[in-house]
Symmetry: C2
Subunit: 502 residues, 2 copies
Amino acid sequence: MRLIVPLQGVVQGRGGLFVGSLIPCCLFYFLQLYLKRRRSPPPDSDSTELPRTSSRSSLFTRGNSIGRVRVSSRAVPLAKPPDSPYYIGLERVKTDPYDRVSNRDGIIQLGLAESTLCFDLLQRWMSENLMDSMMHYSDDVDGGFDISSIAMYQPFEGLLEVRVAFADFMSRIMGGNVSFDPSNMVITAGGTPALEVLAFCLADHGNAFLIPSPYYPGFDRDIKFRTGIELIPVHCRSSDNFTVTVSALEQALNLARKRGIKVSGILFSNPSNPVGNILSRETLHAILSFAQEKNIHVISDEIFAGSVYGEDKEFVSMAEVAAASGDFDKSRVHIVYGLSKDLSLPGFRAGVIYSFHEDVLSAAKKLMRFSSMPVPVQRILISLLSDTRFIEEYMAAHRRRIRDKHFLFVEGLKQLGIPCAESGGGLYCWVDMSSLLTSYSEKGELELFEKLLSVAKINATPGTACYCIEPGWFRCCFTALADEDIPVIMERIKRLAESSTS
Amino acid sequence: MRLIVPLQGVVQGRGGLFVGSLIPCCLFYFLQLYLKRRRSPPPDSDSTELPRTSSRSSLFTRGNSIGRVRVSSRAVPLAKPPDSPYYIGLERVKTDPYDRVSNRDGIIQLGLAESTLCFDLLQRWMSENLMDSMMHYSDDVDGGFDISSIAMYQPFEGLLEVRVAFADFMSRIMGGNVSFDPSNMVITAGGTPALEVLAFCLADHGNAFLIPSPYYPGFDRDIKFRTGIELIPVHCRSSDNFTVTVSALEQALNLARKRGIKVSGILFSNPSNPVGNILSRETLHAILSFAQEKNIHVISDEIFAGSVYGEDKEFVSMAEVAAASGDFDKSRVHIVYGLSKDLSLPGFRAGVIYSFHEDVLSAAKKLMRFSSMPVPVQRILISLLSDTRFIEEYMAAHRRRIRDKHFLFVEGLKQLGIPCAESGGGLYCWVDMSSLLTSYSEKGELELFEKLLSVAKINATPGTACYCIEPGWFRCCFTALADEDIPVIMERIKRLAESSTS
């Protein structure tokens, strides 16, 4: 077939001009009209398709699918079962959870980063202080405590007292080298909404954040569910112990630009989740320099900051790096924190946005109408976080006990010939099970995940779920395990390994 | 100017065909190209505009606005001060709040729908039960309560016990004619996120909900802040006591369609906010029939269902109407409820989504990661809502005390010659202050709003903020007032009226 292009006519003289441009122009014109009609169906096509009649009962009987009302297109994927192995694993555990007394053959949970290591201390504190923390007595109230101090509306961003308590606590667990200003703080009902609200404020629909991978699988839901922001993995390798480099960031940014995607920021967790390594001051400085050069935001998720157990490991907050040098525009730095990990209180839904950007703080405060922390919880946390003697005792025990459990778990794996990445923080370790793979590929890894779940009855999160490009890595959370569970796990893995080789 | 349309040539013969179609076709073709180039700027324009240099400090010094990082375009309007008189009024009260002891000249708050009427009862219950409600003892735990029952992760949609307790409570306060199935329920951290999550699930960006006006000004933030859904007011009039009619809905729907907007549902509050009228069974039936005919959703905000005080008023839930007849596809019906109003516990952030649509429930459960109710709050509410003796006592007192306060407030206004709309529920009344307007217009109403705030020192919400088309109406919330405050308010309004006429 001969293609006639519009400008062909120009070089072919007058006759060519007509023949060369008329036909394709007309075709193009009517094609546009045709496509336009197809692309935008008449508004409310749902309802116009329905015959207008007053005898509705004949059309809409119970259970009749004709005319059944539809949910939004953005709700459709959310209504489906999860496809990430991370969530599949969590769901599977619920069907048959291990219990060392009542269900010794159940699935052992290594997929959820929660800690029960210091429940004895929390139990003691709550028994002694819970009531007083919530009951504020007032001279104006007859014969009892001031119910208005927990029942009434309070500023959605959190009471000043709770922000002061969080600021002190964060400074304390982050080594005391950084101070936090309560006026730069918005209290949220969990780290998850803190992250979503920040994302909403920093990037528009269709923009992206760079994110060093492997990364925590929950970020996909936190960021992508509602904000329309993309996450672009910046692949890190075992040879660097999965630490991000500026050249990898640069490469990912350039690739995104080529694809026409605007990158609005870098998101990362420190201590990193799932690897557990702690970013050095130099790495943080390099990330911030890169962000400054590209004029993008930095979101540092520091929710495991107080769960650092390595002997010679020092946690440094991005807030400290931003404040330490006058070279940086601090307003691009945003910290996410919460008490689900370091204080083992995920049930309390306690999170913080810490930002140096006034507009982000103003917008986040307004958005807190959707995720504000209930006042009774604020009251408990004001008391708990301000009890510095308890906090010192708790944090020392928390770190010591993670370290001990980590040692037990990693030693157990080592005896099976299974190594872990070097780590110094977090409630998990990053385990190299590549020796157990039948094929060194994503497929092989997912087969191992399935075998771990159904044969060994262990739920560990495969690297694929974390966008790791090297197959065979698994995240194993160990801080909700009793010491006596660890030999059980090792025995199960040993048997799986033996059956694979035989 | 002579317009040459492509098909003109057809009727003008061969010469006309060339002249008639060639020129506009070419123009159209190049216009398309031109517009396409203008519409999509090069990606990452922010960062490409910055000179690449390693000497960052010269470019980005502290406080230097060059290269200052920007927030998302959707955060920009949120970071600005509010422009709705509703929020302006609330902010102004904070600067100089009335206190009958310490600041008798301060601004009296009639803008916030909260109640302190039964704080004596709540105080008693909390003093006696708060501790036990949170402390679950377990045989497995040595010497104390089971901290895991409040500290650990729980299903984001709420524990089964809290959903059962909510279902029983809702059925009870809604007259016992309707039962709620806990499995159709998602517990949320407040009515506000319940509404936003529903909106997200039912409509897409650019779609709209019809909403009878005047409506509660907070809906604008609840729905529009993040979902991108429009609210189309369906104007109701004082002649119908501001009750919506099907013909008004039909008209608004047709108008929306003409504008090319897809209407996904109808949102309304019952008892209505700000008017306080209670929708009859017939009206609810008509709304649901209309929604069925148009195949759209119905969102019924029933957060004031237990605050009905009219002698002969009966509250009917949309859930009851949907369930009562086999004619309706129930899956289009969604109820929002919460404890901020009926139980006077806004500080607890307790809300519910009740839906008959499986996909909506599945999606909402996943979205609860952003707005789940903290477990300690769930524990308190399980005890509180299950204490049926207390709930009966509380609800009877709550209704009686609203009725008495309403009588005092409305009588006070009546003596000043200021009438109110007929109402039977809610923590407010809808006051016709048109006699105080200097001009019968929106401008006149806003002038009166400002005079009330700065001269009379009263914050009442003007109808404009509620999209009321008749000027002069104000919403006045009276349930946080002491009896002795009411003469103070009346005196202030009287003086304002006198100074206006003199």
